[in-house]
Assembly symmetry: C2
Homo-oligomer: 503 residues x 2
């Protein structure tokens, strides 16, 4: 047995994933570890999927409600969704199989702000939590549990669940111990207190999860890597978008609205955020900090280069090479990286206090600055709102970034009216595409529309957008936010009918 389980009592609970899966009942509510493909349980979910499939073959009803930190991996969402095993999913997902089952109506999906899900579990709004299933890198002799490459909602799940299942994964570095900061100051109102973070590097909790031993029903030993996907090389559009954002920051510094070393950066996952981090790497900025959800490759480069002093997040999202580097050098990186519960990494109170610089991707924005982050053509769920609302509503600067078109130009990211709203006109400060940047601060809707169309829309769509706006302005009796309700979705309807938004 692995020497990573140092507690005697807990060593007695080691069993196979199949045996652990046999403990689960139809309708169980399970809080899984896992955030952006890191630190999720890897062998229990496939075993549970096998059990569910067998039940279905016997004609029995068997689904579970699956809660996580955020997105997981094929071994979790893919396996469970693949056997039609998920009744309700929350708060975030990005797996192709899970997404298909949500969109074909097999599974329900409650799309919740990532800072709020754990809080709502604490408040009892999702009912009783039957199981917590989490991953650990080791269990100390005292029975303390050291998390792995994500913290997510592990702490609240362990606290609230009736029963706990732990996967101890020796692929994860033991040197991660000391990187985590598990805050235990949560209370329910009227007893909540201020969260004592005033700098991204502040540590306010413990380096381990408190796990009541009497609730632990199974421990599974695993040896499997996280879902680490290689990053694509940064494309030209992403470089352009990153350039506009960094120029905007530089201009804010020049006008005295921001300190020289900026403010704590929020950095999403993907090509554009990676290009921003790359841009920072090649800038003359230093003593940067980050307060964000996820540590990706570019942030590791910035730490290596001595440009980022400290980065606070709740999870890694690394390529295989960088995950290897992290595992080899965790003892170094834990001096510069803090992994926190997502209730803290995404907490409005802290984001607003620190003055985080938010930059989030989007599916589409409309000419007045409303943003759709979740639904293609208004109905089809992509991933979920994630932390974009937590950061956007509370950031010092709230920017949205996207290429101006998708599907080879057939979809415009700037539309007359978004087909779903995740971020309102009240929250969007800046929109950036490879075409340019629209600074919307202090502007009314009629001031925003021409700016967004001219600066951000692709030239192929500008005339149609101007035409819509001009006629709305002329024909609409009320001109705060001129819209023609019979045409507001003409772009989307054309795409659904003809496969392109272009006329």
């Amino acid at each position: 047995m692995s020497d990573r389980i140092a507690n005697e009592a807990l060593r007695q609970k080691v069993m196979s994933a199949d045996d652990a899966a046999s403990l689960i009942h139809d309708g169980a509510q399970i809080g899984f570890g896992g955030f952006t493909g890191s630190g999720y349980p890897k062998e229990f979910p496939p075993a549970l999927a096998k059990r569910i499939k067998a039940a279905h073959e016997k004609g029995e009803h068997f689904t579970v409600n699956a809660f996580t930190g955020a997105s997981t991996a094929p071994e979790l969402d893919g396996e469970l969704a693949g056997v039609d095993g998920i009744g309700l999913r929350s708060p975030y997902q990005s797996d192709p199989v899970m997404r298909a089952k949500i969109n074909d109506g097999t599974s329900y999906y409650a799309d919740i702000h990532l800072s709020q899900f754990g809080m709502q579990i604490r408040q009892g709004f999702f009912g009783n939590l039957d199981f917590a299933v989490i991953e650990a890198t080791k269990i100390t002799a005292d029975g303390n549990v050291i998390p792995t490459s994500s913290v997510g909602n592990n702490a609240v799940y362990v606290e609230k669940a009736d029963k706990i299942i732990i996967e101890v994964n020796d692929w994860q570095s033991e040197d991660l111990e000391g990187m985590h900061d598990i805050y235990y100051g949560f209370a329910l109102p009227p007893n909540r207190v201020p969260i004592p973070i005033t700098h991204p590097g502040d540590r306010i909790g413990e380096t381990y999860l408190r796990v009541p031993q009497n609730k632990v029903v199974a421990i599974i030993e695993t040896h499997d890597p996280d879902r680490n996907s290689p990053f694509k090389p940064i494309d030209e559009d992403s470089h352009k978008i990153a350039g506009y954002l960094l120029d905007f920051y530089a201009n804010e510094v020049e006008h005295g609205r921001m300190p020289k070393n900026l403010l704590p950066l929020q950095s999403g996952v993907g090509n554009i955020p990676n290009a921003v981090l790359d841009g920072l790497l090649h800038s003359d900025l230093d003593h940067l900090t980050s307060y964000t959800e996820v540590i990706q490759d570019g942030m590791v480069d910035l730490i290596d280069a001595g440009k980022v002093d400290v980065a606070s997040a709740t999870a890694f999202s690394l390529s295989p090479d960088y995950a290897h580097k992290m595992n080899e050098n965790a003892a170094f990186y834990r001096n510069h990286i803090i992994l926190r519960p997502q209730e803290i990494s995404n907490h409005p109170e802290v984001i607003r206090r620190l003055g985080v610089l938010g930059a989030n991707g989007m599916i589409e924005a409309d000419i007045y600055g409303n943003v759709n982050s979740t639904h293609v053509m208004g109905s089809r769920m992509m991933n979920g709102v994630g932390g974009s609302g937590d950061f956007t509503r509370n950031a010092f600067i709230s920017a949205f970034v996207s290429p101006s078109t998708a599907k080879g130009g057939k979809i415009s990211a700037i539309v007359p009216m978004v087909s779903h709203v995740d971020h309102t006109e009240h929250d969007t400060m800046v929109i950036i595409t490879e075409q340019g940047i629209a600074d919307l601060r202090g502007l009314a809707p009629r001031q925003r529309a021409p700016k967004i169309i001219d600066n951000c829309a692709h030239p192929d769509y500008r005339a149609a957008l101007h035409d819509y706006y001009d006629r709305a302005l002329r024909d609409c009796k009320f001109k705060q936010t001129p819209h023609l309700l019979d045409e507001a979705y003409a772009f989307h309807r054309r795409f659904l009918e003809t496969g392109t938004m272009q006329a």
Copy 2:
């Protein structure tokens, strides 16, 4: 001269409103006091309007950008808008003349969360503030300024403006001194610190505004009442809605999800909030608290009855009788009421920490729980988002309340898709109409739709809503949030064409 101006140096600056208005230039950015028709300057704005009108008659350009706490009164918004004197208005208004000028395109209107406007002024996002024009009940010998019936953004305006004009109004009670709590702990990031409020009754600031004397350019003596409008008697629908809300709270208490004396109440302005307060008055609850924007009559009754220990707000919105009572008994009420800057009364950090019970009005909600608080038929601005976003996103319970129909049944408050989104599906927990209540916590969109239609829509509209939802569910290929984009606004388009949403 009034003995309310005890400071010698400032007594030298007393002048007429006309003389003060002559100090203002075209294009000036002015931060006015005033919140829900309380504590706004009363004689300066009409004098400024006269000056602007005279300039216009001479063919000169003259507008000002008018910022406030929230809504003001005919003397301010009405007068200035009436002479086409406002270029940009922010962050909230409700005056009929102002509203008309926004909707006919004369004035721009930037509709900003009430907690954020002062912060954005501090951050420099609205440019330089030329003037602060505020109301005081008195000025002490030391030159400290005691606010009146609202605090709003007075502190930030006085701090950031180049020049300050003060109206000293002897209609306001001198006993208001001690009721205000002006927080001076604001800083810009990276130097922001936790706001040290853990109970609605906590006092964290000073009882007066710090006013740099060298910036004061005029003092005007006034004697005018606030815009206090009588409340209408509570109608039956409001009683019903209040009943559903209070039953919901009682059920939460019963299930252990809320303390017996509830959590701090947010209470909007108007008929339904008044009915809720009336319901509380006739309940057996006590030791209630409130953390809200506005103190209205019902809250005063609850304090008189000994049921509310303390109410925190940023302004009064009282009927004439209750305003009289407040002025007569301010020395008593200041033991139970705290008036704070709206940056604090509406701060997400404090609202989330305290676990405020939010209940806000709406124009319409859709079958998936998105809420429109601002735009009639998608284009016509009513008042603004106000504090509804601050409270809804951060409250322990986020409820929206409205009669199920408006305009004698011609408008349904429940529609297939809202024509403007101020609060997203991610934020709405409960919807209540006189028809009933839909508890949406933990539900996916397809679980919400039937519940909202059956529980909240008026019977006259239920069949049409079900028909839309059933066909969307059947015909839409992607079923997370089924919508038919060519029909989503059929209700609204019918109203615009025929004057009723009914087929």
